[in-house]
């Protein structure tokens, strides 16, 4: 009896398992099912735990935060005299009123030169090790020198910049306060701007209030979008964590000629690969992608829904037809827009001017 009962239970369990598998297969289209080895989808409450904001901004041990460095870095960031023509500030392409982007596909730099790639937001880069779309530099501290010296961006040789800053009394004082040992050097320009940029953290968005427990903070559509983002649409495979980036590099199937990270790391997987950008403030950073080729978020989700535009060996396995309906795409866009914090005015700093009593 015991044995028969066990056998019957086993058969019932097997039949139930088959029935459940069939139901699951019907509920999720074949191409949207989990990838090999992917863990079973979790509940919405479990996914929410993956997106809790950090409480502290990280700074490098060799370049710790000081208010003097941050203040100096902010002045330098907004000062067009950092460029060879004295016309292009960092803020030309990274405007505070546009979530530290500039609203165009490719920025206009020194002497009207058009940049190679889209200007990314500067939000949350304190958590980034490989900076720029192709990850060519390490940390913000290692990145700043590149745009200043690049003839297409700001076109200012380091020695000329140091001489120019040294001629301005307000900068001499600000560097002395921030770097008492060695004052105005190119390394200190980089350190100060990096400390300022590390402080650019996206604000608390409706999504964050929902994560904290306010069920009314975002719409039901956005909640459905959040689940799709983590499951059927597979967005979270790369856009993971509180800032919605895994800081990794993927070919997402765009048809432009830019070969991306393979110019830095000569591996086939890096062909056309670019860094996963944050999705914080994503509603305010159009146009999208490393080439700025996609005008709005609906078109971005449609790009992924059709599995990208080109077939290449290097295209990530996560870029594949998703079978999202029009309504589901709308839900995902609603969710993405819940990541925008309310607009706040940004005070632009006063910049030091010429010495009026200089000989």
């Amino acid at each position: 009896m015991q044995k028969n009962s066990g056998t019957l239970t086993g058969r019932f369990a097997a039949i139930s398992a088959v029935a459940l598998a069939l139901v699951a297969a019907i509920a999720a289209p074949a191409s949207a099912q989990n990838l090999p080895l992917q863990k079973p989808w979790k509940t919405i409450a479990e996914y929410k735990k993956d997106y809790v904001r950090p409480t502290k901004v990280p700074y490098l041990a060799e370049n710790p935060y000081t208010p003097e460095k941050e203040r100096l870095g902010q002045m330098l960031f907004f000062d067009p005299r950092l460029s060879g023509s004295n016309a292009v500030a960092c803020a030309n392409c990274h405007l505070p009123g546009m979530a530290w982007t500039d609203g165009v596909a490719k920025s206009v730099g020194e002497k009207g030169a058009i940049h190679v790639r889209n200007a990314p937001t500067l939000f949350n880069l304190a958590w980034t090790e490989q900076t720029a779309w192709d990850g060519r530099t390490e940390y913000l501290e290692g990145h700043v020198k590149g745009p200043i010296g690049n003839p297409r961006v700001m076109g200012q040789p380091a020695d000329q910049l140091i001489a120019e800053l040294g001629a301005i009394g307000g900068y001499r004082d600000a560097f002395k306060a921030a770097f008492p040992k060695d004052g105005i050097t190119m390394d200190n320009v980089m350190r100060a701007i990096a400390v300022f940029e590390r402080g650019l953290v996206s604000g608390e968005a409706p999504f964050d209030h929902w994560i904290k427990g306010n069920e009314k903070a975002i719409s039901e559509s956005a909640k459905r979008g959040f689940m799709l983002f983590n499951t059927k649409a597979d967005c979270a495979a790369c856009h993971s964590g509180w800032s919605f980036t895994d800081q990794s590099f993927y070919d997402i199937g765009l048809s432009d000629a830019d070969e991306g990270r393979i110019k830095i790391i000569k591996l086939a997987s890096m062909n056309h690969a670019f860094k996963t950008p944050t999705l914080r403030e994503i509603g305010r950073t159009a146009p999208y992608m490393h080439d700025g080729s996609i005008a709005n978020l609906t078109k971005v989700v449609e790009h992924y829904n059709r599995g990208g535009d080109v077939k290449r060996e290097s295209v990530s396995e996560h870029v594949r037809p998703l079978n999202l309906t029009k309504a589901e795409i709308g839900d995902i866009v609603d969710f993405l827009l819940s990541l925008d914090a309310p607009d706040k005015p940004y005070p632009v700093p006063s910049l030091p001017m010429v010495d009026h009593k200089a000989p």
């Binding site: 990838l35 090999p36 090790e129 895994d246 800081q247 990530s316």
Partner: protein
Amino acid sequence: MRRYLVPVLATFIGAAGSYAFAAGTHTVVQSEKKFSEAELTIAKGDTLVFKNEDPFTHNVYSQSPGIAFELKVQKPGESSDIKFDREGSGEIRCAIHPQMKMKLTVK
């Protein structure tokens, strides 16, 4: 705590009347975009097996002098191995997920 590093016992191999020890094999698992080992010391001639237990493709490589190598792209579930015949030390990373890094010393 589960340990993934599995030293394989050296085995005797008879050849032309002499005996030799086969080199050790060590397994490093890739899971949740992390290597199972942060730091590893192996002997010259040992083999490292990289086992991808993630639902993501990985591409393990090193550009450090002495241990430089490149594995082929590993799809989910795949394993690849690499033998280290020279002494050296350096960093191993995943090209796709550069936050995945571990230190290797070959003595």
